[in-house]
């Protein structure tokens, strides 16, 4: 029998858990609102088994208005805030530096850190986790993936004993909103993007979202918890949605699919793991197919648990603040009982697998000159690369034809070689789409 520790910590007299916040933007202001709402303190105290005390909120520019934050909490001196005997530092300022320096300074003092900063985790996550471990502090970042969805804690705790086969995420609300408008509203990409920008779902410079980099940083985090792959370091291959056309959406719908930008982390064979982001044809009956608008969802395939899905608001100040708060309460409970969560090491023996070695069914769209013999020529290219065609549909364009193919499962590098050879054919105007089809787990 394990006999160790302090007995019943919550029955002993105790002080408050001291919390400092860096950043008073959307998430920071929402968090401060929750922490300072008198009607909520009872529940917060219950959850933490110690009252939380907000000791200060650091902002860059004290001359700006910070609605919702009591002025006497504000400071522009992060060092002074860190020196206030913090138990937990919340970093919701964003950006790599100086946010990273503040987080490192806190961890080095043994102060637990809660951050929503996926860019920081993607860049420095391994080193920060090590620093936390070495100084007996927690480092939690639930809000960095899926906003309000508590998927990271579930992977870290509930599924810690489960052998996970695959994680599929719709983790970027901007692109899911755009694809939903293209699917349900008949918009083209540019129109749907403009609408997303008008509604605040997309940035003026939307590249990080629409080109897949945001989702790539998130899948690196999901994969680290599901498979023990490194948090930071090797970039996750990603492809965005800028090339998705209304004809692709329409073909998918007609064939029983919907196009989603999926962040994928999956076990490959016994010793491999693949991480990637790309548009994917998702069967309409799959639970991810009905995740619409800016909603996020994460689908996990467990060996014993079977399929599990989490769904919720992927962005926004208040939803993200609830994820931050869950982490703060966890860190507070740990502080009270004098422990911290070990950095999850997972199965470190898994190796990253090159995308070219993976197999998947594909949808390809090829615009060709409409003359006899072209289909045979095109089909011959597929055959030469060992890519087997499951179905083909031809639709007429002015003096061209569009050939839409669904393939059987094929090796990625063979499909890429097929596309390259097709593009070089005189009869082929262009290969308009080459998109994976979601199939069973690898």
């Amino acid at each position: 029998m394990i006999r160790r520790g302090v007995g019943y910590p919550f029955t002993m007299e105790r002080g408050a858990v001291r919390v400092g916040v860096i950043g008073a933007g959307n998430i920071g202001a929402a968090l401060v609102g929750i922490l300072t709402d008198p009607s909520r303190r009872h529940a917060l105290l219950d959850g933490a088994t110690a009252p939380l005390e907000l000791v200060g909120v650091a902002v860059r520019d004290l001359t700006r208005a910070h609605p919702g934050v009591e002025p006497d909490l504000l400071t522009d001196d992060v060092e002074a805030l860190l020196a206030k005997d913090l138990d937990v530092l919340v970093e919701v300022a964003g950006g790599l530096e100086p946010a990273g320096a503040y987080v490192r300074a806190a961890l080095a003092r043994g102060v637990s850190v809660v951050t929503a900063n996926k860019a920081l985790m993607a860049a420095q996550g391994n080193a920060l986790a090590r620093l936390a471990h070495d100084h007996g502090a927690d480092l939690f970042y639930e809000a960095a993936v899926g906003g309000a969805i508590p998927i990271l804690r579930a992977l870290r705790t509930s599924l810690a004993g489960e052998r996970i086969g695959r994680v599929l995420g719709i983790v970027n609300g901007t692109t899911n909103f755009i694809l939903t408008r293209m699917t349900q509203g008949g918009s083209d990409y540019a129109g749907a993007l403009a609408e997303a920008q008008a509604l605040g779902y997309a940035e003026a410079d939307p590249r990080a979202d629409v080109e897949g980099a945001d989702a790539a940083a998130k899948v690196a985090i999901l994969s680290s918890l599901a498979f023990g792959t490194p948090l930071a370091g090797e970039e996750v291959p990603h492809e965005g949605i800028t090339g998705v056309r209304p004809v692709d959406v329409e073909f998918a719908r007609h064939a029983g699919y919907v196009i989603k930008l999926l962040a994928v982390a999956e076990r490959v064979g016994e010793s491999g793991v693949s991480r990637r982001v790309h548009p994917t044809l998702v069967p309409l009956a799959h639970p991810l197919a009905s995740v619409s608008g800016a909603t996020n969802a994460v689908f996990v395939e467990g060996a014993k648990a079977g399929p599990l899905m989490w769904l919720g608001q992927g962005a926004g100040g208040e939803p993200s603040a609830t994820a931050v708060l869950g982490d703060v309460l966890d860190a507070a409970r740990n502080k009270v009982s004098g422990r911290h969560d070990a950095p999850f090491s997972g199965d470190r023996t898994l190796q990253l697998v090159e995308a070219g070695d993976l197999t998947s069914a594909y949808y390809l769209s090829v615009d060709v000159i409409d003359r006899p013999g072209v289909l045979a020529e095109v089909a011959g290219v597929f055959g030469r690369h060992g890519v087997s065609i499951r179905s083909m549909e031809q639709s007429g364009l002015a003096d061209e034809a569009r050939l839409s193919f669904l393939t059987h499962a094929a090796r990625d590098r063979d499909v890429r070689a097929t596309v390259d050879e097709l593009a070089a054919l005189a009869a082929v105007d262009r290969v308009g789409a080459c998109v994976r089809v979601l199939g069973g787990a690898a």
Copy 2:
């Protein structure tokens, strides 16, 4: 700054966490399989920060075969198992007694208990939680609700600081399978039930499932974590699906809904909470509408987090065993750091509200004699009780007509009075359905 506890427990030398199991049925055998699979031990060790050691499996009848369990682990002497210096006892035998006696004996020794026994929790949950608290032990029961879905831990940790407005659960796979077959397969209730029984989704005696008692026990658990209502005690009002007819399913589909058996726990006003189970017309666009077959889902509406949904396998030995395992790892981590989780007390000030005081839109189906003036007579009854009609559809039967109504939001007691008065009319053959329509949060 909080300064307490043992520092870095996982870096200190430590023994194994000793786990005993009572019951080797579906869940027990699956759990033993996971715990004794050599290829899984690395991940288990990681998650627990101490190795788990399975010290014995108690069964009622040693002469029966227990496939998957090493014979030298088996015992029929629970007392002897409890005396083996256990850290964690897993109770997956089921039933109230002697399971309850074993759980009480373990907790009284300070042994943490993990159970999948919702009947036990519904009957004795409050007392068991108190016993656990008094002896510094954990009492976890994730597998009692939603099988593999880690919803209880999420309510207990991630959402501990969130003000929850409503919890809506599809937490009974049998009834969801039957309703799905009636919706997608055109079966009637009896045919769908027979199919569920043939496939093992329904018991030979299906009453606990189809009459809603199983879902009622589960919503009592969900409500206790979301709103601090007592686990056991006052029965949760429940209505099953035995009265749902194909015409109801068809009308619902036609009107943009699907019929689901929902377990509901919701905040009513500032100080009230309602818990209940009943068939419900769920709008097709709602995420719960697409939860089909034996799958379970829990939908949570948070004040700040917004809507969140969890989906997964609600039953089965292996899915449930993963939930048990998550609890075992949690209890093991707590044992190593010498703490236990405080029983969640939530907002104890919330009072249970009588169903009659609630408001909801309703679907009513009334079979009437097809003669002039009947509609006016029927509509008059609605009017007298202040129930406002949103839409009406008439369909002819031989010499009768069926009137299908959707009402605006009305008080439950007024709708019941309307039904009673309608049933007493000479022109009314019967009131065939009176089913709530899911609307916005209360």
